[in-house]
């Protein structure tokens, strides 16, 4: 007991210190630790959620980008296809027009040729008839009389045709 006295240990003070510590413990637990830990936990949850959300949106963004790329590629292919088709068609129709016009021209030419031939034939026959008449008239005048109208014509015709 003397030792404790010398060290300044006093039962009343010791008890007071113990009580003081428990009061502090209670106050801190109730007013400091509990609310702060709750807030910290909440904040942690919030941050975690935020991070997760960010990750999710990033993933979605890349997905959308990929989709966009795919759609663009498809569209480009489609466009290419359409252009090709159009070109082909244009080529085809152009060829058709050329052929048609060629045919038309040919037909026109052949028609013209035929006409000319016919005209020539007609003229020839007409000329022949005229010639025969003229020759018959001339012979008439030279000979002075008609031998035979029918005969004359026959002879002249055969002569003209002989040539």
């Amino acid at each position: 007991m003397d030792l404790l006295q010398n060290l300044g240990i006093n039962g009343k003070l010791l008890l007071a210190q113990i009580v003081n510590f428990f009061v502090l413990l209670w106050v801190l637990k109730k007013f400091a630790y509990k609310p702060v830990l709750e807030v910290l936990e909440e904040r942690k949850d919030k941050i975690e959620k935020g991070l997760k959300d960010a990750e999710k949106s990033q993933k979605k963004l890349t997905e959308i980008e990929e989709k966009e790329k795919k759609v663009l590629k498809k569209a480009r292919q489609e466009a290419q296809r359409i252009i090709g088709k159009a070109e082909e068609q244009a080529k085809k129709s152009g060829e058709g027009i050329i052929i048609e016009s060629k045919q038309k021209v040919e037909k026109l030419v052949s028609d013209a040729k035929k006409n000319i031939r016919e005209e020539k034939q007609k003229m020839l026959t007409e000329v022949k008839a005229e010639v025969i008449d003229l020759v018959a008239l001339a012979t008439d005048k030279i000979v002075g009389e008609k031998i035979n109208e029918g005969k004359d014509k026959e002879i002249i015709e055969s002569m003209v045709n002989k040539q």
Binding site: L7, G8, L14, Q17, F21, F31, P35, V36, L40
Partner: protein, 253 residues
């Protein structure tokens, strides 16, 4: 200059001795209680509107850092939450007690009293860590709480099995002897806890007082720095050792 191992009595209220260290305990406790009320208010406010800032941030940071420290030893959140209030309170209370000796006026401001027929200055400021009543109180609380934690975690039978080993079962008398040593070590813990803190802070206080008396200017500065460091280290050692004892008590062999 008078250096006394025991705290000096200032006055007595209704038969209760008010020593200078007890006065400091009351002051420190009121500071801690006020801060915790402030923290509580600010925390409630921060839930709805403001972001934490200034002092609120600092106090919050202290709580968080202490929790992480406890986590690093226990490695288990639920256990940390159980230990945390004790460890944090011990740390906060002891570090405040240690640092109060750094307040100017140590050993100089006080009342004159007649002691052993001589007039003597009784200083108001004396770190309550330099009072065995306080260190012993906290050491007792730490060690007894460790026993309670052990019993609640392992059950009474298993926990007492650490100390009381049947001499007719397997490691025989060696086991019994080890158990006996364990019992002694529990008491030794109380002594080592209380005297370590008391010795460090009392020595620091004496050092500061002596330095102040010898060379009042500039020379005490490095010692003040040293005392800041020692105060922190001692608070850390006390709370970490308590934490380790808690952890050891809750673990089966």
């Amino acid at each position: 200059m008078q250096i006394s191992l025991t705290p000096e009595l200032i006055t007595t209220i209704g038969g209760f001795p008010i020593t200078n260290t007890f006065l400091m305990t009351i002051i420190i406790s009121s500071i801690i209680i006020t801060s915790s009320f402030f923290l509580n208010k600010k925390t409630k406010e921060s839930k709805t509107k403001h972001k934490p800032k200034g002092l609120h941030n600092i106090l919050e940071y202290i709580v968080e850092a202490l929790l992480e420290l406890v986590d690093s030893i226990t490695g288990d959140r639920t256990q940390s939450k159980k230990f945390f209030p004790y460890i944090a309170t011990i740390f906060i209370f002891i570090i405040m007690s240690n640092w109060i000796e750094l307040i100017p006026g140590l050993g100089t401001i006080g009342v004159n009293k007649i002691h052993n027929g001589e007039t003597e200055l009784i200083p108001f400021i004396r770190s309550n860590s330099a009072d065995l009543n306080m260190t012993l109180a906290i050491a007792l609380i730490a060690v007894i709480t460790a026993q309670i934690m052990g019993v609640s975690a392992l059950g009474f039978k298993k926990y007492s099995g650490k100390f009381l080993v049947n001499p007719f079962k397997k490691p025989y008398f060696i086991g019994t002897f080890v158990g006996l040593l364990e019992i002694i070590s529990e008491f030794a813990k109380v002594v080592s806890f209380s005297f370590r803190l008391f010795g460090n802070i009392f020595a620091g206080e004496v050092l500061l007082t002596v330095m102040l008396m010898l060379v009042p200017y500039f020379i005490p500065l490095p010692f003040l720095m040293l005392e800041i460091f020692v105060g922190f280290i001692q608070a850390m050692v006390f709370s970490m050792l308590t934490l380790v004892f808690f952890k050891m008590a809750t673990e089966a062999h």
